[in-house]
């Protein structure tokens, strides 16, 4: 090997230096945290946000019957007044927001193998089941009472909370399952 060859072999190129960056890799602890964070965020994207209509109807349900009519009509009249007045232009949103695409994964969700069937009236029982199970799981049917599905759900997903999937294929995450009367809960296989 002549001197020139030796010199070129010992020469560091910019490509070689940049290749060093490829060897910068996070450790396992980082990936564990990454995976957990990503699962939590993915679950949040699966949660259906209650619409304004649903929230309004929910609120209305808490108000004594004779007052409901007045309360229901008041905002409607206010909206009507705004829409016919010149000031309505002020409230018009000119930015064309794209509607959120439906999530195919949720829409086409097919409940898979049933792994456990539980009858319980206690939230604690469910929490124990969640703790016993290594993986997150989906509850397909919750709180059936007089043919009505009752769900209480919260938007935040925290450790130990329960993932709910109602019969209309809407997914919810809850840490407060309200079970009254004779309730049946089906646990299907793991989501992740």
């Amino acid at each position: 090997m002549d001197q020139n060859q030796q010199q070129s072999d010992s020469k560091v190129t910019i490509e070689e230096l940049l290749k060093l960056k490829k060897h910068e890799q996070p450790d396992d602890a980082f990936w564990n945290r990454f995976e957990k964070d990503l699962q939590r965020k993915t679950l949040k994207t699966l949660i259906k946000q209650p619409s304004f209509k649903e929230k309004f109807i929910g609120l209305l349900g808490q108000i004594p019957l004779p007052n409901r009519g007045i309360i229901a009509i008041t905002p409607a009249l206010a909206l009507l007044a705004i829409s016919i007045s010149p000031i309505s232009a002020f409230f018009t949103d000119n930015t064309q927001s794209n509607p959120k695409p439906a999530l195919p994964a949720v829409e086409n969700y097919n409940p898979v193998a049933l792994i456990e069937t539980v009858s319980t009236n206690q939230k604690e029982d469910l929490t124990q089941l969640v703790k016993k199970s290594e993986a997150n799981f989906v509850i397909e049917t919750i709180s059936i009472k007089d043919n009505t599905i009752e769900t209480e759900y919260y938007k935040d997903f925290t450790d130990g909370s329960v993932m709910l999937l109602t019969q209309d294929s809407t997914m919810y995450v809850t840490d407060n399952v309200s079970l009254t009367g004779s309730s049946t809960n089906y646990l299907s296989n793991s989501l992740f």
């Binding site: 290749k19 060093l20 980082f30 195919p104």
Partner: protein
């Protein structure tokens, strides 16, 4: 074989391997579209390292890179039904990650903090360090030199414009071909080549103390 030829062969082989992987990916994408969330998890596991590396090398900040990589995966999940299979899944995924990162960098131009991942002082990195020390460029021990080099590399990359940095990261670090990069960035191959040439010239002048 010259270094540039070896690099070209590496890139060609990597491209061939990716093409085979692309077929497997399409099957997984179909499963996700049918509602199998677990299939998306397989895709995440497969691409998280590569995607994180791209984002990390664009931002030079591990926490930001972690968040942005997660955001990219979530965006991909939300819009997977829009993936029309005109390109490979990974190209589509890289495109989402690159766009997410570029938008973030544009929004946060003024407040940037850098942090870097640890790098084992063995194998390839050790070889490069040996070369640098044998050329009489370094007085410090290897560990110190490696840290210094990482810092200087990050600084040099951050001095490049976002579009030049993107090309360097995708080609020199991630090993993507000019064509793949053109697809991801949305320009032609000629532009990729010229940006790469210019960026490497800039880096060479910034890192001249390590290059003999």
């Amino acid at each position: 074989m010259s270094y540039s030829k070896a690099i070209s062969t590496d890139i060609a082989e990597a491209a061939e391997q990716r093409s085979a992987e692309a077929k497997q990916d399409l099957m997984l994408v179909e499963r996700v579209k049918r509602g199998e969330i677990g299939a998306f998890n397989i895709l995440v596991k497969k691409y998280r390292d590569r995607l994180f590396a791209v984002v990390y090398n664009l931002t030079s900040n591990r926490e930001e890179a972690s968040d942005l990589t997660q955001d990219a995966f979530i965006k991909a999940f939300r819009s997977i039904h829009k993936f029309k299979q005109k390109s490979a899944f990974y190209t589509w995924l890289y495109k989402i990650a690159v766009n997410t990162t570029l938008n973030h960098l544009k929004k946060n131009k003024l407040r940037r903090f850098f942090s870097f991942e640890s790098m084992a002082e063995e194998g390839y990195s050790s070889e490069v360090l040996d070369k640098i020390t044998s050329n009489g460029n370094a007085k410090a021990d290897k560990a110190t030199l490696l840290n210094e080099l990482q810092e200087k590399l990050n600084e040099a990359l951050q001095c490049l414009s976002i579009k030049h940095r993107t090309i360097v990261v995708l080609h020199e670090i991630e090993g993507l071909s000019h064509k793949e990069i053109a697809d991801i960035v949305g320009c032609n191959e000629g532009t990729v080549r010229s940006r790469l040439h210019y960026a490497k010239q800039q880096l060479q002048s910034k890192l001249s103390q390590y290059i003999s």
